[in-house]
């Protein structure tokens, strides 16, 4: 990147999004200054937003590759279930975490096989997987949750969800680190280049020697691993695993990615957009409630925000040609 010659036209979408974020924040500050002019609420966001955000990063990659994944909330539950069970039976958290990641890799691979080898459209395959995996979770757990209070004091627990400097939730730093890492993978790594082409013009990519099946399967594996990671930190944070875990994250994660400016049609996406989109979606509910509106308003405002954001993206891009 040449400093001083930055092409602002290229970043119109991101600039628009940041402006929107601050506009909404300003609105909240006006409607409920007692909440939004104090730091507490922001630390709360840093604690809760990373779950949507981390899965949003994976989903961004999936969408850029021209596919969709709806199975990630169930992956979140299944992986962290295995971690909880293994931790309780063997006492080893490291082993539990490794198995959780293996579950994410395994389901990502299975998604890849269903979509690329058998040829099921990704929306159908991953809806099927979403139900099937949730079913496994329910059967294996018997519908019962698990306490993870025994994790307290474990150094891995502190590293993942502890408070850095006594204040900043560690998961927010993981989220920031992962966002930067994923930006480099998508835009500055040869794998990312192939993901962009596979979503843009699959035939062209294949003709030029890109192994489309492998690239797309890898993308689903990354999604699976990130969903596992989100499941781990969510259960660690609350010191509890429960069988419906992740269900509330499906629509909010998808919303965060679309609000962030990633296209439904593949070949383009924004990591920074997803990052901001996650905070936008994540702060909305708190803002609405703090403003004195009842929780019933939340969905209406979500809907308006999503449609407005995507409309702005399309208008901005349309003008860019």
């Amino acid at each position: 990147m040449k400093v001083g010659r930055i092409d602002f036209g290229k970043y119109k979408v991101q600039i628009g999004l940041i402006a929107m974020f601050f506009a909404i924040l300003a609105l909240f500050m006006i409607t409920s200054p007692r909440v939004f002019l104090r730091p507490t609420i922001y630390f709360a966001f840093l604690s809760t937003v990373p779950f949507v955000g981390i899965m949003g990063l994976g989903l961004t990659l999936v969408l850029v590759s021209g596919e969709i994944d709806l199975s990630f909330p169930s992956v979140m539950a299944l992986s962290s279930f295995f971690c909880a069970v293994i931790f309780h039976t063997t006492g080893s958290l490291v082993l539990g975490i490794l198995v959780a990641f293996a579950v994410g890799i395994g389901i990502g691979t299975l998604n890849g096989i269903l979509i690329r080898k058998i040829g099921i459209p990704s929306i159908v395959a991953t809806i099927g997987m979403m139900f099937a995996i949730r079913g496994c979770v329910n059967i294996l757990s018997g519908g019962l949750g698990q306490s993870l209070v025994a994790l307290l004091g474990n150094p891995l627990h502190s590293a993942l969800v502890g408070k850095v400097g006594g204040k900043i939730p560690a998961q927010s730093l993981w989220f920031i680190g992962l966002a930067i890492f994923m930006w480099f993978i998508l835009f500055r790594h040869k794998f990312g280049s192939q993901v962009l082409f596979v979503g843009d013009n699959e035939d062209a990519a294949r003709m030029m020697g890109v192994k489309v099946d492998i690239v797309k399967t890898m993308v689903f594996i990354i999604m699976g691993v990130l969903a596992s990671f989100a499941g781990l930190i969510d259960s660690f944070r609350l010191l509890k695993w429960w069988p419906t875990m992740g269900e509330g994250f499906l629509m909010t994660t998808i919303a965060a990615v679309f609000v962030g400016g990633t296209s439904m049609f593949g070949g383009e996406g924004s990591i920074l957009g997803t990052f901001i989109g996650a905070f936008l979606i994540g702060s909305l509910e708190a803002g609405i409630v703090a403003a004195g509106l009842s929780g019933f308003w939340t969905q209406l405002i979500y809907g308006v925000l999503i449609v407005t954001a995507v409309t702005i993206h399309i208008l901005v891009k349309g003008r860019a040609g």
Binding site: R188, K190, F191, F197, A205, M208, G209, G321
Partner: protein
Amino acid sequence: MSDNNNLLVEMKNIHKYFGKVVALQGVDFEVGPNEVVGLIGDNGAGKSTLIKILSGVYSPSKGEIYIKGQKIDLRHYSVEKAHELGIETVFQEQALGVKQTIWRNLFLGREKEISGSFGFLNTEKARKETDRMMRELLGFTGEGISPDSPVRTLSGGERQGIAIGRAMYFEADLIILDEPTRALSVKEVSKVLDFIKKVKEAGKSCIYISHTIAHVYSVSDRFVILDRGQVVGRYKRKEISEPELNEVLIRIHEAPEFGSESR
């Protein structure tokens, strides 16, 4: 070994059947060094089949291929092998990602050329090389276009140029263009013809497939006319004028059809 080691490509007695359908019957076809060959014929004459055999997409039912004097083992011939031997096809259905920048398109499938440690891309190098490809190989002078321009902002002719430039950049000896001027405006066609002249200037060879004589005539050194799977005419440009070549084609098309013709 072949009789003529100077030829870049020599295809001998090529036959291709698709089930009962005869697509090619005994075609001989050569390309010399630094030569632009116009491969002409109506839809279904067998042009694309012949070229797909040469570029490794199809395997011939019968026949021999020599590339740079070497006999090709057709059982182990493939698109990858053709690339290794310096044969690049610029496909009709432009192999470009239109939402991506020109530099990403140049290195599509060859990201190794611009990646450093752990596969991370050296974008500075990619941009510099793309700029060189555009100016030196293609003669792009356009102000508004940079290596960072997304391909969707380019015109149809410019997009063909990028695809041709990509083949030239990677040191192809023979560039195969399948109907590169199809669906282009007059102004865009002249751009593409200029790019083909650049291929010749760079000392490389080209097979230019078309059924538009006006386009193919001005840039080709030699013409090969296919009809119903057979070569029905070979001319050097010096020997035939554009109207005469048109005349030949009309006569071929008016000739009575033999047997059941389907390709």
